[in-house]
Symmetry: C2
Subunit: 302 residues, 2 copies
């Protein structure tokens, strides 16, 4: 079943100890869509400027991503520049030029209004809510991402949006900040009260932890010999997670666990090359093989 | 089969956000022995002072730990005091009084010289080597722990000792420091060249990663609602790991993976109460139940 993502499409300038690129396709929605496209048809809602060329677009089209929801606005595309430290555990933002993204006001094409599966990437919670209000058929699965900026500045709006989400995907710090609880289990209980009954805590190289109101599930980061660029790892994780879940179409303990695995698979591939390069060439066979390697990495018999 | 541990026995003063204790049994060998005693007969080699009472000793005896190798020296027992930060992710050492431990020179009682399984806790590598030289029958399994202090100050002695170990158990930072490699897979390859063919990287709340020259295995930290005192978690992990492995008596892929699970089980229990309190009352049934919970936490079916 199709999956709609709403979020940023950007150009990124990235510098890591392995090299640099001046202008490459980026943004949460791009990573998410490319990752999710391994599993299902993805509809992308975002905005780009005049500088977004046919060639840029083709990267997404090559993965059969539906771009009817990608608005063209007059001006420049969102631009982000960042530099990673020697060990890639710290990132310095060098530039954030919102450009056309500053006026982003997502408008769903008619065909998108019945999307059964929705991922609201990290944008203003008011916009996330406006997307849900445009949906005419109650979706099966709504997942969302957010960040400290919105938790601090628009807590009321975020709470309103959270009421409509089944799954919240954030990192450790955001979990603690949103709940006011340092302990992640207590934080999760607090968050269950806000709406989502599934909390997915993204922990970078340490993997991800899912706390559901019935069970917990943990998956490690995949140990890699070469990490070239961590940009987009979390969004690729979300794409793999939601892409897989959309093919099942139901939230069950089993489907959520597999979604965690496929999320981790996509996140682990994303960081192997700069920007979206690795996701562009990734095959389903590679995805399946790495999922099995995750199984080898974690399974044991008592 | 019996298991010998050589390391510190101490009194600890510990302060965490959950409370404080002024003087409680501590030291790597104490935690290790209490944890390992869930699985096998443990022989403890260490040194204590005149202030180490029959009652202190009884804590170890109650778990059937063999104390023939626990030397009594004139003076005070090793004393350590530390305080944990609000989130318990940082620890400040308030006092380190080596006392009788400063002159520690491990002497194995005759019965210990044929120990098939040996754990060399974090002490001077020269002393670790002297222990191995006293062993008269080639042991089946030798594992060791070390720390930045020895990696920096006695690198040659540490390298010599490492030649005799099959398993090295250290944390992320120590792995990187010892190998000069930031990437853990490359670090492991470097370490395989030094002797051990199994590297166990302890990652605190993030669990543990095993890199063997044939396979990798990862286990998450067990999500707990209450962590009262992180002291001794790593040594309890090592105790659970080696205790289990000693019952199997052979290093196989399967036994190493299960050892990782039981290590994590013991580490997770150790932090639930102050000092060794939780390990004192822990039952085999609780150990088995938590091992199954680790299975639920990590297993999935693709």
């Amino acid at each position: 079943m199709s999956l709609m993502v709403v979020g940023s499409v950007a150009f990124d300038a990235i510098e890591t100890p392995h090299g640099k690129v001046d202008r490459t396709l980026g943004g949460a929605a791009s990573y998410f869509a490319l990752a999710a496209s391994q599993f299902t048809k993805v509809r992308l809602v975002g905005v780009v400027g005049d500088d977004f060329s046919k060639r840029d677009e083709q990267v997404l089209r090559d993965r059969k991503i539906d771009l009817e929801g990608l608005e063209r606005a007059s001006g420049k595309t969102f631009f982000w520049a960042g530099r990673y430290s020697q060990n890639m555990n710290e990132r310095t933002t060098l530039a954030t030029e919102l450009n056309v993204f500053a006026q982003f006001n997502p408008k769903l094409p008619p065909a998108y209004r019945e999307s059964p599966n929705i991922f609201l990437a990290n944008i203003d919670p008011t916009l996330q809510l406006s997307v849900l209000k445009q949906v005419t058929v109650k979706p099966k699965i709504v997942a969302l991402d957010t960040m400290n900026y919105w938790i601090e500045r628009t807590p009321a709006e975020l709470r309103e949006t959270l009421k409509h989400a089944q799954i919240l995907m954030i990192n450790d710090d955001e979990t603690r900040q949103l709940s006011g609880q340092h302990n992640l289990l207590r934080a999760a209980k607090h968050i269950f009260g806000l709406g989502p009954k599934t909390l997915v805590i993204k922990r970078g190289e340490h993997g991800a932890l899912m706390i559901h109101n019935r069970f917990m599930f943990s998956i490690p980061g995949f140990p890699l010999e070469e990490v070239h660029d961590p940009t987009g790892a979390g969004d690729s994780f979300a794409g793999g997670f939601m892409g897989y879940l959309s093919t099942v179409g139901r939230i069950t303990d089993g489907s959520l666990k597999c979604a965690m695995v496929y999320g981790s698979v996509l996140g682990s591939f994303a960081v192997e090359k700069f920007g979206v390069e690795r996701l562009k060439t990734l095959t389903k066979r590679e995805v399946v093989t790495r999922a099995k390697r995750f199984s080898n990495l974690t399974s044991f018999k008592l």
